[in-house]
Symmetry: D2
Subunit: 164 residues, 4 copies
C-alpha cells in the first residue's frame, strides 16, 4: 500500500544458485533477482543491490555486520534481503538486535530459481508485500508465512520455517 | 503474521488458461492454484475453492453476486480471489460495496501459469501476504503493488494496474 | 553423421505461438527456433530463415509454392521445415511432388515452445537428426517417429501423426 | 523410419540430477526419462530400464561390463543409453569393442532436465532419431551431432563433443 521506495539486498543463497555445466557443480554467478522482478512484472520502486553472492553456510559475523551497516545506511526504510535458508535465522537475529526504525524482511528459496519448480517467485512476491505492510522490525518471510526474527527457527529435517 | 485460515476463491482468468493441443485454442480446464501453492511450498492454512472457471470478460453481474455471497458465507475473514484482469476492477468494486468485515484481495496474472514466464507465482505470493496484513477492505494486488478497490484502474494499453 | 550444412526454414505453427498479454490471444511474433537451437547447445552448421509466421490453417497454395521454391533455391541439400501440424501433411505432399535431390524433414509441436511443457525441443532434435541420416525425399518427423510424405496422415482426434 | 522396438538404458548422469532441497546438493533419485518421453509425446515402441543412477565420474569398469551385458542380452537391436558426459567416451569405447550387430547411441545433457534450460529434450529426441536410422555400431549423439565411438572426444574446456 505504501508507495515508498524499497531496497532489495541480495546475499546469494539457493535463490541464486546456478549450474556450472563444465564441472556439474552448483555455483554463484550473477543474481537472478532483477530477472525475477521483471518476470513478476513488478512495478514497485525497488532498487536491487548485490552485497555478496554466497551460500549462507559460509556467511561470517563480518558479513552480517556488513549487511547491518548496509541496512542502516540505506536511504530506504523498507528493505528485503534475499538470503540462504541455512543461516537466515542467525542473520535475522543479528539484524533484529542492530536495526531500528526500519522494516526488514528476509526471504529465500528451497529450490534455485533456475530450476523450473522454484518457490522463489512465490517467496519474493510475498516478501515484497510484507515489507510494504508490516510495522518496523525484522522478519523472515517463507512459505507464505512471516515471522518476527525472534519467533522463528528453521526445521532442518523438514526444510521449513516454523514458529517458536 | 496472522495464523488465521485463508480462503482462496478461484474464478478462472489468465492464471488458469491452458492450451488445448487438439485445436490450438486456450481454454479452462482445472485450476492450477493448488499446484501453485504446492510449488510455493505454501504452509498457510489456505483452502481453495473453484467458484467458476471463466474469462473475466464473460463474467456477469449474477456471477459477481455469487462471488459476493461466497465471500459473505465463508467462515474465513481473509479471502484471496484469483480473477481475470480485464474486469477485475469491476468485481472489486462490486465486492467493495457489498462486503463488510473481511479482508478480500483480488489477484491475477498477465501470462498463464502454464507458460514458463508467468507472473502468477509472484502475484499469488504477494496476494497471500497482503491478505494477512491489510485491514478489512477489498483490494487488488498486482505487479507487487496493492490498491484499495476504489483507487485503481486497469491501463489496458500497458497491461498494468495503476492508482487513480 | 554428415557435416553438411543444414537449412532450417521457419513457417510458424504451434512451435512459435506466443501469448499476447494485452489481449489474451495467441499470436506470432518472432520465431523461437534460434533460441531453441541455443538451448539445445546445437553445434550443427544450421542456418535459420523465417519464411512466414502463420498458423498452418491459413497456409495457401501460393505459400506452399513459395516454400518449395525456397527449398529448390537453397544451397543446402538438407532442410528442416518447422510447420503447424494442421496442414503439415498437405505441405509435405506438395514438396514431395516438387522437390528432387534433397532431404526435407517437416516438424512441429503440439504445444507452443513458450509453454514449459512443449514437445518442441524433442521434435526439433529428432528432425535435425533425421535430416542428417535419411536419404533424399520429403518426410514428417513428429513424436519421435518419421514418415515418408506419402505414408502419413494426422489423426486430428488424437493429435498425433500415424502411418497410412 | 523403423518401427522396431527401442530399448532405453538409463545410467544417470546430468540428465537425471535432481536438487535436494534439504541439503542443497545435487543427487540422483528417480530417472526423468519416462517423463521426458511423455513430454515429447513420444510414440515409439520404447522401453526404459534404469541400470544405475550415478555420476559418470564414478562409473567403474565393472559398471561398463554390466552395461555391455545388458546391451547384448536385450532383445532389441536398437538401444539408446543416457549417460553422464564426463566418461561417455570411455563407455562408448568399451561398447564399441564389445557389441556387435546392434545400433547403440549414447546421449546425455550438459544441464539437468529439471533445470528449465536443459538440452536434454533436444538430445534425447536426436538420439532416438539417430538410433532408428544409423547402421549397426556404437555412437555418441550430443549437440545435434552424432559421432562414431572411435571418432569423438569430449572437450572439457568447452563442454562439447568434437570429432577426432
Amino acid at each position: 500500500m505504501t508507495s515508498e521506495p524499497i531496497r532489495v539486498f541480495v546475499t546469494g543463497g539457493t535463490f541464486d544458485k546456478a549450474y556450472n555445466e563444465l564441472n556439474g557443480q552448483l555455483f554463484f554467478q550473477d543474481t537472478h533477482v532483477p530477472e525475477m522482478l521483471r518476470l513478476g512484472r513488478c512495478l514497485l520502486d525497488a532498487h536491487v543491490s548485490a552485497l555478496m553472492m554466497i551460500d549462507s553456510l559460509e556467511m561470517t559475523e563480518d558479513d552480517r555486520r556488513a549487511i547491518a551497516a548496509e541496512c542502516r545506511n540505506a536511504s530506504e526504510t523498507r528493505i528485503v534481503i534475499t538470503h540462504g535458508t541455512d543461516t537466515m535465522v542467525e542473520t535475522a537475529t543479528h539484524l533484529g538486535r542492530e536495526i531500528q526504525g526500519k522494516t526488514v524482511v528476509l526471504t529465500g528459496a528451497m529450490i534455485p530459481y533456475k530450476f523450473g519448480s522454484s518457490d522463489g517467485m512465490f517467496n519474493l512476491g510475498s516478501a515484497l508485500a510484507f515489507v510494504q505492510t508490516l510495522p518496523q522490525g525484522v522478519y523472515i518471510a517463507m512459505n507464505g508465512r512471516c515471522f518476527a526474527w525472534n519467533r522463528v527457527r528453521k526445521n532442518k529435517e523438514k526444510g521449513i520455517f516454523e514458529a517458536v
